[in-house]
């Protein structure tokens, strides 16, 4: 679709208070706009006397340089576009945190939007931000994004971009992800070492690379420990909410032989599962061990405190932003793409037994 933003059409609007420009200053001081510009930009090509005078007037008249004009001229806005599936989650908001902290010192602002896990919304946002001429993109694709032409189009347009957290297989750009496989493997291997033999897995949306990798880690940990993989012990949640955790756990407990451990896609799911287990009158970790993923701040305060796989999300944001900044602030032509993987870490708490 080729369309133009409605807002651009002419329309009567409340006129904003006119703001002082370098031309205003120039007229008052009876000098040329160039001179004003030079003074404001601390150019050496101006007498310090005039400079002082100009700066003073500028201050007194509340002069503010217009970034729009600057951006138009410089062909760079110093704005970065950030698109995440949802901003409400601790995970992504922490990543954004990292991005902002990395980027602030370089004078970049963030334009942030959430796709709400919707592909079409993601496309819309991407295009809108591209029209604003953001200098680059930091994107974590929606779970319903299976085709990457929209990304490719923007990239080919010359806008640098970094994909983070969720991989887009088959689309070549810089990417930063967490080693979900390793995290899952570690978690399940640990469960096995504590004596669990019938370990279930509540997986996430199948389309998510993170969900797939965690499932693979789970499967390989079982394999390497010579434990049979049972289809009935793997259930798939539609999303990663606590409600989904509830539904999936109910399903798992409905079978004749219940699991002695559950490794969930993330903490939210684990929390839902925990409630179901509790209500069934089963003991954690006595009857069933439970391990989550993400290590959200609340997880440590659950009763019992949740064993979980901590992810370096803040660093994820930082590194993604850093890579993007590299593209933006250096002249080096990039050869190939970076694919960075950050290591997660198992945090053992009370929902899992200990290894003797």
């Amino acid at each position: 679709m080729f369309c133009y933003i409605i807002g651009c059409l002419p329309q009567i609007l409340k006129m904003r208070k006119p703001q002082t420009t370098i031309i205003d200053l120039a007229k008052i001081l009876k000098v040329s706009p160039s001179t004003i510009s030079r003074a404001l930009n601390d150019s050496p090509l101006i007498s310090s006397e005039k400079k002082k005078q100009i700066l003073e007037l500028a201050r007194s008249m509340n002069y503010l340089p217009n970034q729009l004009a600057l951006s138009l001229f410089n062909k760079r806005t110093k704005i970065l576009g950030v698109i995440v599936p949802e901003i409400t989650s601790y995970y992504f908001s922490t990543a954004i945190n990292g991005i902002q902290d990395m980027v602030a010192d370089y004078g970049y602002k963030l334009m942030i939007s959430q796709s709400n896990e919707s592909y079409s919304e993601e496309v819309r946002l991407l295009e809108a931000m591209n029209l604003v001429r953001v200098d680059g993109f930091l994107i974590s694709p929606s779970s319903n994004t299976t085709e990457f032409d929209h990304f490719k189009k923007v990239k080919d347009y010359g806008v640098p971009m970094v994909i983070f957290d969720r991989d887009c297989q088959g689309f070549d750009v810089d990417k930063v992800v967490v080693d979900d496989y390793a995290g899952a493997f570690q978690a399940v291997d640990y469960l096995i070492k504590t004596g669990c033999k019938r370990i279930a897995h509540i997986s996430g949306p199948e389309n998510l690379s993170t969900a797939r990798h965690r499932k693979e880690g789970y499967i390989d940990a079982l394999k390497i420990n010579k434990i049979k993989i049972l289809e009935e012990l793997i259930v798939f949640g539609e999303n990663s909410s606590s409600e989904t955790g509830v539904a999936c756990m109910i399903k798992l407990l409905a079978s004749k032989q219940i699991p002695d451990a559950v490794f969930t896609y993330n903490d939210a799911v684990a929390i839902g599962a925990m409630q179901v287990i509790r209500e069934k009158g089963l003991h954690i970790p006595g009857d069933i061990s439970l391990v989550g993923f993400d290590d959200e701040p609340y997880s440590a305060y659950f009763n019992p405190a949740l064993t979980s796989v901590w992810q370096p999300v803040y660093d994820l944001g930082m590194l993604s932003a850093k890579i993007l900044l590299n593209h933006l602030e250096s002249d080096k032509v990039t050869n190939g793409f970076r694919f960075e993987t950050l290591k997660p870490e198992l945090v053992v708490r009370e929902t899992s037994k200990s290894i003797f």
Copy 2:
């Protein structure tokens, strides 16, 4: 401080791929740029034949209108500046959610930043966003902001703004807040009705209007029920984290006579408090009732499930944005300021006893 963004200074930078402009199109088709512009904007002042031809070429050349040029011309960017204390909290990210949902249909984009509860950072962000010429501001001030000249300066500059969640007393703008007083009153009144007589309060940062109002609600609920207010039962947390909840609860349990209920500034604090109570071997709500504030999604899954005061945060964001849009999209000159108050609601769960 009067300063210029470093990024504006001339610097060698990797030239971005030149993008097609209406002038390019004009040259190719040998017509004037105005004609191109008219075609692109679906003006009636053009032959449908030419229009079709132009649109086709534009599409094939991946033409995208440059919002910067447009914004410079229209004196409006269709970008709204959002400043919140922290983006990581469920509370503010949900408010942002509401803002975005309200604003999306009107074609506005969001520039979001967090002040990290720092006054100076807030000032910095505000100024940077103002330079970008955002059309308006949605701000929840940092807890360390006690003086509002920076807001006033921007407002006087002609940029509309709405303050939300946290009030700035003495500064007149449109504001949208939640009735913290009523929420707190309801919670504490309820605790009293369940038989609690020695109700403690863990308050938030004293500078926060929300913390003050919740404390006042607590106090008035006691008063109206003729319960004596005891200084020793009110402790102040430096911030609103779970760690603070832990620290404050330890303090409360150290006194000779422990409370039979605790009303906390928010859920995060309550969670910390809950852990301390549990570790002391006390029963909730048997020995101590516990009520939080915010009703975060996890609170329902705690063990026992947390009684809390739900806040209409999403609506808070929506309404704030709506008010700002009113300023932006209508010609009506505003007389006075709106002060909207949203009603919170007590959600009773397991950490409080029931009323017989």
